[in-house]
């Protein structure tokens, strides 16, 4: 585990070096610095942010300051993860693509390879000298700064303190076994569903695989193929299955259909495994739930080794086809400035892109629950071929449903192998 992360940091470091070299001989950007604020007047910058990423206050403050600084307007458009790749691909080919958009760290490589992302070396130069290198790795591709790292998060257990207390569980479980025992007690009480875990929360599954030290893909000669048949992946699937057995959630749906936070907000659910901001969604749906919400680290093998988690993260990118690239970069410089990066971390409880801003998380219960597992986290393979796997129907989700419906992990791996390999081998 650790070894992998260190290696990743090393590679990222090399990449950063390359980027630095690459950006030196770029003179064309100098012109932009002489532009006065008035030159942007009357322009409108379109920004696509994913649902839940931008807290209202952050958005309002940032917009106000940006408009005052540049004279240009900002139009935020909230996007859903569902179907976003298809929407983004066509948009990037259009005359008026979104100028700035949020993109998942696991999807960045694929889009960078298409040539649809503008080079952001000068944003890095301006505000990114001290970005965490392992975070920036997901924003670079073949030595180019294709996007800029924005925020990171890993899942935590969001739980209903009242439900837990009623079943006699007063301290949050620290190990996997304690977790099962707690869920068992809630189940015995019979008043609430112990945990809402749909069968296809595959990000959590990726975390479990990371926790087992497994990999989802492996190299076969010069091409990537499925590694779901690996015993480590099977072990992760068994853990998922055990946990899922405490839930009545559908085995063939993911956590966003329906939104698990909405289910949780009804107060009849012991826990969900989700991003910290999902608690906010639940509170919006039902104000009364707020006082009962608590968080704890996803428990692992032992108290000092929490469960592996998926290190989710989002980058911000600028469309190569945008006609307002300079303005977009100005926006990024402001949005990623310490002030706004820090504010975002504070409001959303997400990990900021540089260590010096981590102080914003002190006292934030979500971040404190998330932090212990962050160093045991990992991502899906950061290869350009990966994005195709995530297109619906995602074979990893199909695999999970098959396991939960009674197939052995080996059988399930076999069932989806052809589809998985086909996607990894897709022509680019």
């Amino acid at each position: 585990m650790k070894r992998k992360l260190i290696a990743a940091i090393g590679v990222a470091g090399m990449m950063v070096g390359l980027v630095a070299c690459g950006s030196d001989d770029k003179d064309s950007d100098k012109g932009s610095e002489s532009k006065g604020p008035d030159s942007y007047k009357g322009q409108t910058l379109t920004v696509w942010a994913m649902d839940g990423s931008t807290p209202d206050k952050w958005q309002a403050d940032l917009t106000a300051e940006f408009e005052q600084k540049t004279g240009a307007k900002v139009k935020f458009e909230v996007q859903q993860w569902n179907g976003i790749q298809q929407k983004l691909t066509t948009s990037l080919s259009e005359e008026n693509p979104p100028d700035v958009f949020e993109i998942g760290n696991t999807q960045t490589a694929a889009y960078a390879k298409t040539g649809g992302l503008a080079d952001l070396a000068d944003v890095k130069k301006a505000v990114g000298a001290d970005w965490a290198e392992n975070f920036n790795e997901g924003a670079t591709f073949e030595g180019k700064q294709s996007a800029v790292p924005w925020w990171f998060a890993n899942r935590v257990v969001i739980y209903n303190k009242a439900v837990f207390a009623e079943a006699g569980v007063t301290t949050p479980p620290k190990t996997r076994d304690e977790f099962y025992a707690a869920l068992e007690k809630i189940k015995a009480k019979g008043k609430a569903e112990p945990i809402y875990l749909p069968g296809q929360n595959w990000y959590h599954f990726v975390g479990l695989v990371v926790g087992q030290g497994g990999e989802l893909v492996k190299k076969d000669g010069d091409k990537w193929v499925s590694n779901l048949g690996d015993p480590k992946v099977a072990a992760a699937a068994e853990i998922y299955k055990k946990l899922q057995s405490y839930s009545k959630a559908p085995k063939d749906k993911d956590e966003s259909t329906p939104q698990q936070a909405d289910v949780f907000s009804k107060g009849k659910t012991g826990a969900i495994i989700g991003m910290g901001w999902e608690a906010g969604t639940a509170i919006t749906a039902n104000k009364a739930i707020e006082k009962d919400i608590g968080y704890f680290t996803v428990p692992g093998e032992s108290a000092d080794k929490p469960e592996g988690v998926f290190l989710g993260g989002s980058n911000l990118a600028v469309a190569e086809g945008s006609k307002k690239k300079e303005l977009a970069k100005e926006f990024l410089k402001l949005a990623l400035s310490d002030k706004y990066e820090g504010q975002l971390a504070k409001l959303n409880g997400v990990i900021p892109n540089k260590e010096s801003l981590n102080s914003n998380l002190v006292g934030n219960p979500v971040a404190e629950a998330a932090a212990p597992s962050a160093k045991f986290g990992g991502t899906t393979p950061l290869i350009a071929e990966w994005a195709a796997v995530e297109n619906a129907p995602n074979p990893v989700k199909t695999y999970l449903t098959a396991v939960l419906n009674g197939k052995t992990p080996a059988e399930a791996a076999k069932q989806v192998e052809a589809e998985f390999n086909k996607r990894l081998a897709q022509k680019q």
């Binding site: 859903q80 569902n82 066509t90 259009e94 005359e95 749906k253 259909t257 329906p258 939104q259 909405d262």
Partner: protein, 276 residues
């Protein structure tokens, strides 16, 4: 003809079962949308919304620029149907009443046009619209929906035109009307029920379409109601009260239109049949 009691009974029993079968899903949609949430997620179904609530409708109507979507949907649907009716009327008159070379060829051509798998052609359409710089506009939608419903409208109207007794037109022409006048003054009024019932298919097709608008119009200002309903459904998932309220809102205009048009159309049809 005399029938036994059983012989008189079974058609009515079957009919009652059928009525229940056909109406229940529609009823259940309405009923669920008015029920309080505990009555929806109840282990024993609550058959009637005894204490109706509008909260689900409030949730459903809460969407950003909902009324813009309503306006867009209405504009696109109505324009597409009206244009296709006008174009079809001319063509169907030729196909039903005139004899000319290639007549059957045209008919078979339109029958084949009816088979067009629009959903899978969206990418080709996307390229055309993108390169014409017409994305995020209601105009391409209207035009494509018009052609989408055109073959059916045209071929169906042809049947109605053919059903209008020839003699009426002829006698009008004997009375000194030109062919155009005869058409406008005599045939068109008789065709009214046919036009109405034909338009229903067009309305329902255009009202429902979403794969194309999904790709062509990403700007929320130019989207239509089916997109709202399907995104609503994926976000609200098993909040069945809200989804059913949204479905009700989406279905109501078409249901009303059908009930209104179908009465006229069916009576028109049978009247025409009796006379013919």
């Amino acid at each position: 003809m005399k029938r036994s009691i059983a012989g008189r009974l079974w058609p009515n029993i079957t009919a009652v079962l059928l009525i229940i079968g056909f109406i229940f899903p529609v009823y259940w949609m309405f009923a669920t949308s008015f029920k309080k949430t505990p009555d929806i997620v109840s282990d024993t179904p609550v058959w009637f919304p005894t204490s109706p609530t509008f909260e689900h409708f409030e949730t459903a109507l809460n969407a950003d620029n909902f009324w813009t979507l309503v306006r867009n949907s209405l504009t696109v649907t109505i324009l597409a149907v009206v244009f296709s009716l006008i174009i079809s009327l001319a063509a169907s008159f030729a196909l039903a009443r005139m004899r000319f070379k290639g007549r059957r060829g045209f008919i078979v051509g339109f029958m084949m046009a009816q088979m067009a798998p629009w959903e899978v052609m969206v990418i080709a359409i996307y390229f055309i619209v993108r390169d014409a710089d017409m994305l995020n506009s209601l105009i391409p939608l209207t035009l494509f929906y018009m052609v989408m419903v055109l073959p059916f409208t045209l071929l169906t109207l042809r049947g109605f035109v053919a059903a209008v007794p020839k003699e009426l037109e002829e006698s009008a022409m004997v009375d000194g009307c030109t062919r155009r006048q005869a058409f406008l003054k005599v045939i068109l009024p008789l065709l009214a029920p046919g036009l109405m019932s034909t338009s229903m298919f067009g309305f329902i097709t255009a009202w429902n379409e979403f794969p194309m608008v999904l790709v062509l119009n990403k700007d929320a200002e130019f989207q239509t109601l089916p997109l709202w309903l399907s995104s609503f459904r994926s976000t609200f998932g098993d909040d069945w009260g809200a989804t059913m309220a949204a479905s009700t809102i989406f279905a109501i205009p078409i249901l009303l239109l059908f009930v209104f048009l179908q009465r006229k159309a069916v009576s028109g049809l049978t009247d025409g049949a009796v006379k013919g």
